[in-house]
Structure formats: structure tokens, C-alpha cells
């Protein structure tokens, strides 16, 4: 199955490579865009070193988004999700900004978007945006809702990249320039940024219990509990984010130290200053230059329509939150077995929907258990009673959920002891004789109820 963006499937993690064409297309588009800008605005400043810096920025994004980091971060580990954040919002943007041809910046700020760029890159605005996006994108509700869909996952990555570009712009971008934004002021700006991530760090590190359903309920990877995973994520925000920003602070500090104070701030950045209006914006940019640069920025920030379209298509016509897997004449989602306290009986829960014509489920078997049968726990008042279910109708237009306290597939006489992370197989048989094989992940009992995304 081809994965476009996210991998939140609710199946146990496997170290098996999966293609992420959406990610490739996005990274390729960034390279193509850069090549076109470079062809359009050549110059002595466009050195091989800056080309390498830009490409390493694209490479950083690629590592953060493609398998396995992208897949682990999207659906399994909050700590890897945090690594993605650091790479996308803190590492890649300055590299991309430093490597982008200077002419593109000049064309952008002299074009119609110049005013917006001037406003957004005011240090007070950019740091506010950066902090807000950092805060909001680590808000559990948003993470759990957005990460459940390909589009949302892509949107989150894009928002991070955007916030990173805006945040780093006043530090590394040559345009637009503010006379008062000296290296010293930039150092102050970065130090302020090191203080604000403490909020997210504290929120994650000192949380009493797992905050993100996405990671709490994900099939576990290795033996890391979701609480520890979240703790690592919080520490990464602190100890991982700080070195990146402090590296930049060190570079700025030595640059300011090495260069003489007699030089103005613009010279310190070695940016040619001729042809500017007093407010520091280029006055001789051509309109067509501005347009190409605008297209570039739109591509970089608003995302590649291809990737977006593919993501939407991948999500399919049904509820976008769940990953549906085709199984014979039906589709299944979120198949899971709670690790039973004692091995005789286990309950398998799964969401079902018929993909073609309506179906009637009449039988269940499992190669992993001596007997498998469909039951429902029904409540009369507070009384709970287990009743066998002879047949279950699956309409085409709705999802039938087998869930705790309702229907489940009961497995008796399991052929081997289960462990969290195992997979249990079952075969559903329908009235018309067709069958659907399904595989369910074994999860901790307390995760069964909330394992649904």
C-alpha cells in the first residue's frame, strides 16, 4: 500500500520500507524551484557553498518527512514527532533561506507581496507567530485531530515549515532589512526564542499522563511506554532545540566580533546595498521577477497541489480519521486485540464496512485460536450479558464498529501466548461464501477502548 504522507494506521510498527511519493514530489519541487530561481537570478553571490546549503535544507526536510522518521513520527512515537518538528521548523528553514538566490528575495520584497513580507518578518510578529504555532501545534486536540488524516498531517508539517521560515527570516534572510536589526539584536531575538520553548517542554515533560491519543494508543514500538516517549519528546524540545538556536547565536556572535564595528549592519551580512530605497527595500526589481518569486513562495509555503490532492485521494471517501485496509469484499480499520489477563479468551475489536454490495457476516474463524465466534455484550439496566450473534449485516454506507461493551469477536483456545505487538489473524465469512482475512494488533488491555482514532 502506497503511503503519501502519514502512516497512522494502527498496525504494529515494522521496519519495512514504504514509499512516500508525496514527500518525494514535495522535496523534488523545492529543488526544481531552486534551480529555476538560480537560473533566473544568477550572480557571483550564488556560490556552490550556498547551493549545498540549500540542498542540505531540502535533504533535512526529506529525512524528516520520508520513511522511517516520517512514518514513526506520524503515528507511533511522540519523541520522533518532536525530532520532526526540530528538523522542519528549526533546521531546514535557515538552510533553505541562506541557500535561496538573493535575487529571489529582492524580487519578492519589491513585488506586491513586499508589504506582507515586511510585516510578517518584523521580529515581534515572527517570534509571536513562531511561538503561537509551536504552542498550538503541540496542543493535544489539534495533534490528535490533524494527525489522523493525510491532509492534516501534511498541513501540520507545512505549518511548521512556514513558522520556521518566518522565525528565521529576520536572522538569516537578506531581505527586507531593518537597520536596527544588528547581529546583537538578532542574538537577543534568538535568546528570547530559547526561553519560549520551555513552555512546551514543561507541558510535555511534567504531564501526569499521556497527552496525545495518537501516541498513547499507537501500537507500541519496542518497550518505550507512551509516558516515557512523551517525556523524551519534552526533553528533545529543550535539549534538542537549544543547541540549534545556540549554534546560530554563536555564529552571529563571532561574526559580530570578527567584523569591525565601523561597518553597518548591512555590510555585516555582506549584502550589496546599492539600488535601495531608504527603507532598505530594492527599488529596481522587475515585475516578472516578483511573480516568479511569488510562485516560489506560494509553492514553498502553501504546499504542492499534487501532494495535497494525492493525500486527499488517499484518504478515500469514508471517514478520513481511520486508515481503511481492503480485506476481500470489505474494508477494515483499527483491528485490535486486548492482551487478555489469562490466555483462554481474548476479544478482537475492529471497524468494518462493506466496500461493494451490502454483506451479511455469518461466521468467524481464526488460525490463531481453537474457536472464534461473534458475541455482543448487551446491557439490560446495569446488567451485562454476553450473547452469541448469529449474523451481522454490513451496509455499504455506514461503519459497523466492534468495540468494548458491544460486539466483539471472541477468540478461545489461543494457540500461543500473546504479547503486546503481536498480530492475531481472523477470517470473516459472509453469507455469499466470500471471506475477508484480517490481522489485529495485540495492544495493552487498557489501550483497547481508546485505541480508536
Amino acid at each position: 500500500m502506497v503511503q503519501w504522507w502519514c502512516a497512522a494506521q494502527g498496525v504494529p510498527w515494522r521496519w519495512r520500507w514504504q514509499p512516500y511519493p508525496g514527500v518525494w514530489a514535495f522535496c523534488l519541487a523545492l529543488v526544481v524551484l531552486w534551480a529555476r530561481m538560480r537560473a533566473r537570478w544568477p550572480g557571483p553571490e550564488e556560490t556552490r557553498r550556498r547551493a549545498a546549503i540549500y540542498l542540505s535544507g531540502v535533504g533535512t526536510l526529506w529525512i524528516a518527512l520520508d520513511w522511517p522518521v516520517g512514518a514513526l513520527g506520524a503515528g507511533y512515537l511522540a519523541s520522533v514527532h518532536m525530532v520532526q518538528y526540530l528538523l522542519i521548523a528549526l533546521v531546514a528553514p535557515p538552510l533553505l533561506l541562506i541557500g535561496t538566490p538573493r535575487g529571489a528575495f529582492r524580487a519578492l520584497v519589491s513585488g506586491p507581496l513586499g508589504g506582507v513580507v515586511w510585516t510578517l518578518t518584523h521580529p515581534l510578529v515572527s517570534i509571536s507567530l513562531f511561538v503561537s504555532i509551536m504552542g498550538v501545534t503541540h496542543w493535544p486536540w489539534l495533534v490528535d485531530t490533524w494527525m489522523a488524516t493525510q491532509l492534516g498531517s501534511f498541513g501540520l508539517d507545512l505549518l511548521w515549515l512556514l513558522s520556521g521560515i518566518v522565525f528565521w527570516w529576520p536572522v538569516v534572510a537578506p531581505e527586507p532589512t531593518r537597520a536596527w536589526l544588528t547581529d546583537g539584536a538578532r542574538i537577543g531575538y534568538l535568546i528570547a526564542a530559547t526561553l519560549v520553548n520551555t513552555g512546551v517542554f514543561a507541558y510535555l515533560t511534567f504531564a501526569d499522563f499521556p497527552l496525545y491519543a495518537t501516541y498513547e494508543l499507537a501500537p507500541p514500538v519496542g518497550s518505550l511506554s507512551s509516558q516515557d516517549d512523551q517525556l523524551v519528546a519534552g526533553l528533545l524540545m529543550k535539549v534538542g532545540g537549544a543547541p540549534i538556536i545556540w549554534t546560530a547565536i554563536t555564529i552571529l556572535f563571532f561574526r559580530a566580533y570578527i567584523r569591525s564595528d565601523s561597518l553597518g549592519p548591512r555590510e555585516r551580512l555582506s549584502i550589496p546595498t546599492e539600488g535601495r530605497t531608504p527603507d532598505g527595500r530594492a527599488s529596481n526589481g522587475r515585475a516578472s521577477n516578483g511573480r516568479t518569486a511569488r510562485i516560489g513562495v506560494v509553492l514553498m509555503t502553501a504546499g504542492l497541489p499534487l501532494a495535497t490532492a494525492c493525500g486527499a485521494e488517499r484518504a478515500g471517501p469514508g471517514p478520513a480519521e481511520a486508515e481503511w485496509i481492503a480485506a476481500g469484499p470489505i474494508e477494515v480499520s483499527d483491528a485490535r486485540v486486548g492482551l487478555p489477563p489469562l490466555p483462554e479468551r481474548a476479544a478482537l475489536y475492529v471497524d468494518l464496512r462493506a466496500s461493494g454490495a451490502p454483506l451479511r457476516l455469518t461466521g468467524v474463524s481464526s488460525p490463531d485460536a481453537a474457536r472464534a465466534s461473534l458475541h455482543t455484550s448487551s446491557a439490560g439496566g446495569s446488567m451485562m450479558r454476553m450473547t452469541p450473534v448469529e449474523a451481522l449485516d454490513l451496509p455499504t454506507d455506514s461503519v459497523v464498529a466492534l468495540a468494548p461493551g458491544g460486539m466483539h469477536i471472541m477468540l478461545e483456545g489461543l494457540v500461543r501466548p500473546l504479547a503486546v505487538g503481536d498480530s492475531v489473524r481472523a477470517v470473516l465469512t459472509f453469507a455469499d461464501g466470500r471471506t475477508a482475512p484480517i490481522a489485529a494488533a495485540v495492544v495493552a488491555l487498557e489501550a483497547v477502548e481508546r485505541a480508536r482514532r
Binding site: 507567530l129 489477563p341 489469562l342 479468551r345 439496566g381 446495569s382 454476553m386
Partner: protein, 226 residues
């Protein structure tokens, strides 16, 4: 700093961006209403039944004798239960492991089997151990006879459990009440936690119960246990 007044549209944009930033920051979810409980309040008329039940092979004791926490939770079920019993207690166990020790040590949990024919003491112990491998929860296993369990259910005010007829394979189910009943230090039933209670509900309620705050009586409190 060179002063350079921003044109009006830009000033507006700056203000807008800052306002958006501030609004966005105040976004995180509101804490649950401090006045509300997930559990349903009970009048406290029912007390822990003083019935002698086997707690270990050849050892008889009673719920009030064994349960000495500030909060005592009682659940009637059976270990062959594939669905509700283990999930209900696993959720509770996960939360008790997570709560600070000064809270969790005040909470004791009684599991009373409604299926003594199959649930031996060894089996009950193994089942509870699997739910709590590191002995972090004060679980107590009780193994009454079928008559005793029904008498206990009558005393608790919950419906009598019923052993369903055996299936073709010799297996059978037991129908039983789905809720956990919470008793205070004095052994009075003060709250019921029906099936469907989430971990976050336990997490919010249990510390308050330990501190002696109990859910107020609701309109449906009388009917809740039936």
C-alpha cells in the same frame, strides 16, 4: 533603532498578527468542570455487606474486614469474561498506577467472582496479577459460592448475576452487573461507576474521592444500580 512609522495597513496587519498569536495561545482545552464527577452519587444507605466469603483457600473474611482504604471499589465479575470485566479493571489499574502514591495507596479494589465453579483462588490471583504485574494496586480477590454472591449482590443493591446455560462446547458466560461501586472509609456506598467510564474520568474522580469529596446525588441515583 531607526524610527520608521508603519503605514496604516501595515500597522493593522501587525496588530492582527499579534492578536491572532495571543488568541491562539489561549487555545488549550479547558479543564473539566471542577464541580462535576464522572461517577453517579449514591445516598450511602448501602454499606459494605458483612458477609463471610472465602478469600483464600479455607480462609473466610468479609468485604468490610478486608477493605480499609479511604476509597473502596467493589466489582462483581468473572475471569473468563472476555470483554467488559478485564477492560474495566485494566483501565482502573492503569490509572491507579499513574496516580501519586498518596492517592493510589488510599484506594482498594475488590474483585468478587460470580463464577466460583471455574474461578479458583489461584486463577483469580493470576488474573489480578496479570492486571497488576508489579503489585502497585491494592486488589483483593473474593470467591463466594453462587448463593453467597447472590446474597452479596442483594445486599449491594445490584442485580443478581446469572450463569448462562452451557454452549455446545461446554463453555458458558455469566451475566453480571457492569458497574464499580465506590465505598467511603466508613463503608458506605457513595458512588457508582458504570461501564463506559474512561481512564481520564477515573483520573479526575479518584483523587477527589480520596480527599473525601463525593459526587452529589443525582436524579437517577436511586435507579442507577439496577
Amino acid at each position: 533603532m531607526r524610527s520608521r512609522p508603519l503605514p496604516a495597513p501595515r500597522r493593522a496587519l501587525v496588530a492582527l498578527a499579534l492578536a491572532a498569536a495571543v488568541t491562539a495561545c489561549s487555545g488549550p482545552p479547558a479543564p473539566p468542570d471542577p464541580g462535576s464527577f464522572a461517577g453517579v452519587g449514591l445516598p450511602g444507605a448501602v454499606t459494605l455487606p458483612d458477609l463471610e466469603i472465602e478469600v483464600d483457600p479455607g480462609v473466610r473474611s468479609s468485604l468490610p474486614e478486608r477493605l480499609t482504604g479511604a476509597v473502596n471499589l467493589v466489582f462483581v465479575g468473572y475471569t473468563y469474561c472476555p470483554d467488559i470485566c478485564p477492560v474495566h479493571l485494566a483501565n482502573l489499574g492503569a490509572v491507579l498506577r499513574d496516580l501519586p502514591l498518596e492517592i493510589s495507596r488510599e484506594v482498594e479494589v475488590a474483585f468478587v467472582t460470580a463464577d466460583p465453579a471455574r474461578d479458583t483462588h489461584a486463577r483469580i490471583d493470576a488474573w489480578l496479577r496479570a492486571l497488576d504485574p508489579r503489585f502497585e494496586v491494592k486488589f483483593h480477590g473474593f470467591r463466594p459460592t453462587r448463593d453467597e454472591v447472590n446474597a452479596l449482590e442483594d445486599a449491594l443493591g445490584i442485580p443478581r448475576s446469572v450463569v448462562d446455560p452451557e454452549g455446545a462446547d461446554g463453555e458458558y458466560f455469566v451475566a453480571h452487573a457492569g458497574q464499580v461501586i465506590a465505598f467511603d472509609e466508613a463503608g458506605r456506598a457513595r458512588a457508582a461507576y458504570p461501564w463506559g467510564i474512561r481512564q481520564r474520568d477515573w483520573h479526575a474522580d479518584l483523587p477527589r474521592l480520596v480527599r473525601g469529596e463525593w459526587p452529589p446525588l443525582g436524579d437517577d441515583s436511586a435507579a442507577e444500580l439496577r
